[in-house]
């Protein structure tokens, strides 16, 4: 997979996990039962598996990690897999705050790539699966789990026909998910997405494509890329809508200037986009979405 295809693969799996292309870096949950306990991050690093420790250690090792000093005192408990952390609200809150730190987001991206994407690519290539879609299917199985179990059932790729193998794998996995415990059958939407992409012969993951009701476009992918430090994102109208503190700042600025934005909510929807367009027309700004010129015109 080239870099663009890897981004698309990440976006697809993020949509499966969080309903959004960007993923949820601040997500904190406690897995029910005894399997994983505390779960954190874009692709659910868990206390039980030890992956949470790996992620937090990697984050704390970054010189500019904003929450490192606060997290470090908890590392020993994480190392001991102390399940009391499941109910430690201070720690959970800290993790949520850290999720907003671009350093944490970058750490998560690298950590999950190292632990899911890279092994998935290696496993795919070992089987002779070279298509981006095929490798994304394998990547999804690494993130959701169960790859080893199903792959061993499937046997090797025969005659180099990896597309046929992937098609069969997706069907087998869909059937397998349907027969597992609740709520795993309800996650079969992941395979539905892949089946649709296979039917449309989109083996190279050409954009736009739709995953679980979310349209992934070039623009959406770009918008999902974190801005450089100190820079604003470019806000554009996407589905789902872009959201964040920068959008709230924009809406607050509009409200201050008497535009009918109402109460700022941090979502960049069609009405906010319409107000931006009107603002740009009034101020002679020729820009798609909220770019540097618009930010500057608003004094932000």
């Amino acid at each position: 997979m080239n870099e663009q295809q890897q981004n698309i693969a990440r976006a697809i799996v993020n949509v499966f996990e969080t309903g959004r292309i960007r993923g949820n870096y601040s997500a904190v949950a406690v897995l029910k039962g005894d399997s994983g306990h505390l779960s954190y991050g874009r692709s659910q690093s868990t206390l039980g598996s030890g992956s949470l420790l790996g992620l937090l250690e990697a984050y704390c090792a970054q010189p500019d990690a904003a929450c490192a000093a606060d997290i470090k005192p908890f590392l020993e408990s994480v190392r001991q897999k102390d399940i009391a952390l499941d109910t430690n609200e201070a720690f959970k809150k800290l993790l949520k705050v850290a999720g907003a730190d671009p350093v944490m987001q970058a750490t998560q991206d690298k950590y999950f790539d190292d632990h899911y994407l890279a092994p998935a690519c290696r496993a795919s290539e070992a089987l002779g699966i070279t298509d981006a879609l095929g490798q994304t299917v394998v990547y999804d199985s690494h993130v959701q789990g169960g790859w080893s179990k199903l792959q061993s059932r499937m046997g090797p790729v025969i005659g180099g026909d990896s597309r046929r193998w992937i098609t069969s794998y997706v069907q087998t996995r869909a059937d397998w998910l349907q027969h597992l415990k609740e709520p795993l059958p309800s996650t079969v939407y992941r395979m539905d997405t892949f089946e649709a992409l296979i039917k449309s012969d989109n083996w190279d993951l050409k954009l736009p494509l739709t995953a679980h009701g979310v349209q992934i476009t070039e623009t959406a992918l770009r918008a999902a890329t974190p801005p450089a430090a100190g820079a604003h994102r470019t806000l554009i109208l996407l589905t789902p809508y872009m959201q964040g503190e920068d959008v709230r700042a924009l809406q607050t600025a509009f409200a201050d200037k008497g535009l009918p934005i109402g109460k700022p909510d941090g979502f960049y929807g069609p009405f906010t986009a319409q107000l931006v367009k009107e603002w740009q027309q009034v101020h002679g700004i020729d820009e798609t979405g909220v770019g540097p010129l618009t930010w500057k015109s608003l004094g932000l």
Partner: protein
């Protein structure tokens, strides 16, 4: 020559050969089949000698001993036949039928009992010897039924006293360790798998004494035996001392562990749990926070002025209501699809409300349209967030069972041991692989077994002990070991070795009842022995 009263048996000719002046060898002397008295006179010319009386016996030592052995064996076979005719079986481990061995089994520990062996051996020796005496006196010598010889009560007293004493000590102090799963001949000289010198001594003395007594009994020919040989007082004394040593050892040694029942919770192996077994925790996605948040947000929205905003808000409400009503997998699947549709509806209405606003240029009319467009945008955004939260909740809920299926299996196991004299400081092992304390969860600040019910007479021991293993806390090598034990269906064996070396072993299986069928025994044994060494599940 006078051949007694039975003249019919007298042959016509007796052949005699003079070997010397002192010895005459006679042949063809007629003897009745059952022996009898023989009167012999020898004459030279008309001068007969004085009459000599001889007793002739038809049975020698070998044949009488053989008869005695058969009689003793027949008598011994009666209890064996009774045991064998039981309709119920007695099985400790799979495929090992043990009801014929119940005579020797200590029902509490399912081990061979030395005191019982001693008692039976002496009983058999007494039976054999008395049968030998009886046959000899009644059928060979034609005498009256012989009285019980004076030496028998002594040996019966020693053996019975040992057996009773052993039982009293066991009741008072607790039994020996139950050792390996199935009884083994080594049980006679070991206690909970540890060789006990006093048991060795008693076994050797018993074997020697029994053999010596029987050999001495048949040392006298059936024709001349009148009583069983007396056991030398010192030998009897020595045997008594040996028995006392055995009982003293029992008294001095700590009671050993006995495992009666082992329960594993969950009882299914990892792969069964992962593929829909019955005992794994199943948690539906927790949608309540998302629903509550969506409803609260919806309640805070302004009232719509026009249709587009009303439709967007209605889509949000519909989504929250549908999620609240989702109960089954089918409901959840339908909800996921419905959320995509409702999201599209809300987004479309938000866009159309904005379009309506943009097309209106009259400020008075534009103001409510702006409010509506903003409202519709808000509702659509909230619905997107709600949909994302549902997806996230589903992914979180699915992660746990998926980890059990395809990832490292992290199923916490609680092993409950029931028995007696179970030391919480003992060595634990499964399938002969050590179960180190570091694999157990922390109880009162230490990684150790949890004594749920202490032994009343020895509070440092347990009657009910729980071992909790949480794979989440384990290192990689311990996890591998745990998976080895609990990954798949099959029989296993658990053992506990108390600090003094006495050991108890018990088979179990995953799931329970596969490797071992429930055991039943005769009415008496079923009260005591049947529950012992059985695997069971909670």
């Amino acid at each position: 020559m006078d051949l007694g009263s039975d003249q019919k048996a007298v042959p016509r000719t007796i052949v005699a050969q003079a070997v010397s002046s002192q010895e005459l060898r006679l042949c063809r002397i007629p003897i009745r089949w059952n022996g009898g008295e023989l009167l012999l006179r020898v004459g030279i010319g008309d001068r007969p000698s004085e009459e000599q009386r001889f007793l002739v016996y038809s049975r020698g030592t070998g044949s009488v001993a053989l008869f005695s052995l058969i009689i003793a064996a027949l008598l011994a076979s009666v209890p064996l036949w009774l045991l064998n005719s039981l309709t119920r079986s007695y099985t400790i481990s799979a495929g090992n039928e043990l009801k014929k061995r119940l005579l020797f089994l200590d029902a509490e520990t399912d081990t061979y009992s030395l005191s019982k062996l001693q008692f039976y051996l002496w009983t058999m020796a007494a039976l054999f010897s008395y049968a030998y005496l009886f046959i000899s006196r009644v059928f060979v010598q034609g005498q009256a039924w012989p009285d019980v010889p004076g030496s028998l009560p002594g040996i019966i007293a020693v053996s019975a006293g040992t057996s009773v004493g052993a039982q009293i000590i066991t009741t008072a102090k607790g039994s020996k360790g139950s050792g390996a799963t199935d009884p083994h001949l080594s049980d006679f000289i070991t206690s909970g798998g540890v060789v006990a010198p006093e048991r060795v001594q008693m076994l050797v003395w018993t074997l020697f004494g029994v053999t010596a007594f029987m050999v001495a009994a048949i040392g006298k020919a059936p024709g001349v035996i009148s009583d069983l040989p007396p056991i030398p007082d010192n030998l009897l004394y020595l045997m008594g001392l040996s028995s006392l040593g055995y009982l003293g050892g029992k008294m001095a040694r700590k009671a050993g562990p006995v495992l009666n029942e082992i329960s594993i919770d969950p009882g299914d192996p990892d792969d069964v749990i992962a593929l829909g077994g019955t005992t794994a925790v199943v948690e539906p996605p927790d949608l309540r926070p998302a629903i509550n948040e969506a409803r609260a947000a919806q309640a805070s929205l302004d009232k719509p002025n026009f249709q587009h905003a009303a439709d967007a808000v209605a889509a949000l409400k519909n989504a929250a209501d549908s999620a609240a009503a989702a109960r089954t997998t089918a409901d959840l699947n339908a909800l996921i699809q419905k959320l995509i549709t409702l999201r599209g509806t809300a987004e479309k209405n938000a866009s159309e409300a904005t379009l309506a606003y943009s097309l209106e240029h009259e400020p008075d009319k534009q103001r409510p349209l702006a409010a509506d467009a903003r409202l519709a945008e808000n509702a659509a955004a909230l619905l997107q967030d709600f949909s994302s939260a549902v997806t996230r909740a589903l992914a979180v809920a699915a992660a746990s069972p998926m980890l059990a299926v395809g990832g490292p299996r992290l199923i916490k196991r609680v092993i409950t041991l029931r028995g007696t004299n179970l030391s919480p400081e003992g060595l634990l092992s499964i399938d002969n692989e050590e179960l180190p304390f570091r694999m157990l969860v922390i109880i009162e600040g230490k990684q150790q077994p949890d004594v749920a019910v202490p032994e009343p007479s020895a509070p440092t021991f347990a009657r009910l002990m729980k071992l909790t293993i949480d794979p989440v806390r384990l290192g990689d090598s311990d996890r591998v070991q745990l998976f080895k034990w609990f990954a798949t269906t099959g029989p296993h064996s658990f053992s506990l070795t108390n600090p003094d070396g006495q050991k108890a072993e018990l088979p179990f299986s995953l799931p329970p009842g596969i490797a071992q069928k429930p055991t039943t025994a005769n009415a008496d044994a079923s009260k005591k022995a049947a529950p012992s060494k059985q695997a069971a599940a909670v």
